[in-house]
């Protein structure tokens, strides 16, 4: 009886030309074509990231020092653990998706629905994790100064080599300077917010604490950031122009400006893919519940969104490697 059902389906899956090229249904093949073109789009992004990185190979930020947060562990240095967790979440939601496809082959409606539900949860958790990651990245941790040439100057304690936060060592100097709103002056000038400490406060605080040194964005041959001597530090801090806290599309406290731009763009584009995947999965999920595919006689739709979902997972594997590991 089962065999006859399969034959019926195969007949209904013929393309208009009367056959079935490469033994794949039309929808599935078009999904594959989309995935190939989308893979090339991501290639373009990741390769241009590689281009910028090799172009600035001696001054690129070290990912281990940027992504150090883990939920509920405040002040604990946890490089990469969180992204690793995100990777597991996404791989696991991929697995539940394959299980849903597999259950679809066996026409087991309740099982397909259950696994689709788990997949949606996994995707939602992943998108939420990425939002949290962005929040930490945008907020920043230690703060830095930027020189006229656009180089980032960070601060370290000379005794233990740990990073120093500009909000902690800067001197408090009263000032009348307030946020310039365009309602209070020329309308086309304005600023969104002032840094929590001013350039003068950071400079004075740095000069009064002999324990502090400046760390440049340049790497030595061991791949560590070069730390200047106290004299060099006092010399170079005079070139500082702006206080940088956290990250935006113009500058970031981690180092090279392009680093934050690529981070926002590539993880953002990937996150948008995950988000659309979750939305499509939800639509499919409700279609399963109301029995659309049961009536159609097959669950190929689940297989097609499954392909997309695995592709998103596949891209994350590459983003994970090139942004966080390498």
């Amino acid at each position: 009886m089962k065999a006859s059902t399969i034959n019926e389906n195969e007949e209904s899956e013929l393309w208009s030309g009367g056959n079935k090229p490469l033994k794949a249904s039309y929808g599935k093949m078009m999904m594959w074509f989309f995935i190939v073109s989308d893979a090339l789009t991501f290639t373009g992004f990741l390769v241009s990231y590689g281009f910028s990185r090799f172009k600035n190979i001696n001054s690129w930020p070290i990912a281990d020092e940027v992504f150090t947060h883990f939920p509920f562990l405040h002040g604990v240095d946890a490089p990469m653990y969180y992204v690793a967790l995100m990777t597991f979440i996404l791989i696991f939601s991929s697995v539940t998706m394959v299980l849903a496809v597999d259950a679809g082959h066996n026409m087991n409606k309740s099982k397909v629905a259950f696994y689709m539900f788990l997949t949606i949860i996994g995707g939602a958790v992943f998108v939420g994790s990425q939002a949290w990651e962005w929040k930490n990245f945008i907020k920043g941790e230690y703060g830095a100064l930027e020189t006229r040439g656009g180089q980032i100057l960070q601060f370290v304690n000379s005794d233990n080599g740990k990073r120093a936060s500009i909000r902690e060592f800067s001197k408090s100097i009263p000032t009348d300077r307030s946020t310039h709103l365009n309602s209070k002056g020329i309308w086309f000038f304005g600023e969104s917010s002032l840094p929590t400490v001013s350039l003068l406060e950071v400079k004075e605080g740095f000069k009064s604490d002999n324990n502090l040194l400046i760390r440049t964005e340049y790497l030595d041959d061991k791949g560590q950031k070069i730390v200047l001597s106290r004299e060099e530090s006092l010399d170079i801090i005079e070139q500082a122009q702006i206080v940088v806290e956290g990250a935006n599309l113009i500058r970031n406290e981690y180092g090279n400006r392009l680093f934050a731009n690529f981070f926002f763009f590539i993880t953002g584009f990937h996150g948008f893919h995950v988000f659309s995947g979750v939305v499509i999965n939800i639509i499919i999920f409700f279609n399963i519940l109301i029995g659309t595919y049961e009536r159609r006689g097959h669950y190929e739709m689940v297989e097609k969104v499954g392909l997309y979902w695995h592709f998103v997972d596949l891209v994350w594997v590459f983003v994970f490697t090139f942004f966080y590991l390498v």
Binding site: K2, I6, N9, E13, L22, K23, A24, M29, W32, V36, A39, L40, T43, V47, S48, G50, F51, S52, R53, F54, K55, N56, I57, N58, D64, P79, M80, Y81, T87, F88, I91, F92, S94, V95, V98, L99, D102, H105, T147, R148, G149, Q151, K222, G223, Q239, H298, E300, G306, L307, H310, F311, D313, L314, V317, F318, F320, T321, Y324, L325, V326
Partner: protein, 126 residues
């Protein structure tokens, strides 16, 4: 629909009884690879930090393990293993030709620009 699944991975070294078992097997394999990657990334063994072909050996290992993971995701989760070789080739070959090509020309160019910025008369740190 109802297509037969090939249940072997590692060139037949490991054969599963059902498709569902194979999925869990691949999950375990992918998890192990990810744990190795993260472990290496945290420990950073000194002997792997030597440079090889302009990149640290460790980074080459990461790229290789990523490709291994990509293979198993595509072949088992996206069940390319069960498709006809024509479909597999028409998907994989364009990517296999275009991606290394693009990566090669752009990274070579980036390396050239890096050399120019180091050796040129222009100061980039002012």
């Amino acid at each position: 629909m109802g297509a037969e699944h090939k249940l072997e991975i590692f060139r037949g070294l490991l054969k599963f009884k059902s498709n569902e078992q194979k999925i869990w097997g691949v999950l375990i394999f992918l998890s192990i690879v990810t744990i190795i990657e993260v472990g290496l990334g945290i420990i950073k063994p000194a002997f792997l930090l030597e440079s090889f072909l302009q990149m640290k050996i460790l980074n080459w290992i990461f790229v290789f393990l990523t490709l291994v993971k990509a293979y198993y995701i595509a072949w088992d989760f996206m069940h390319l293993r069960d498709e006809t070789s024509g479909l597999v080739n028409s998907i994989v070959l364009p990517l296999l030709i275009l991606i290394p090509y693009l990566a090669f020309i752009l990274i070579l160019e980036a390396d050239y620009i890096y050399d120019i910025m180091q050796a040129g008369f222009q100061s980039w740190n002012f």
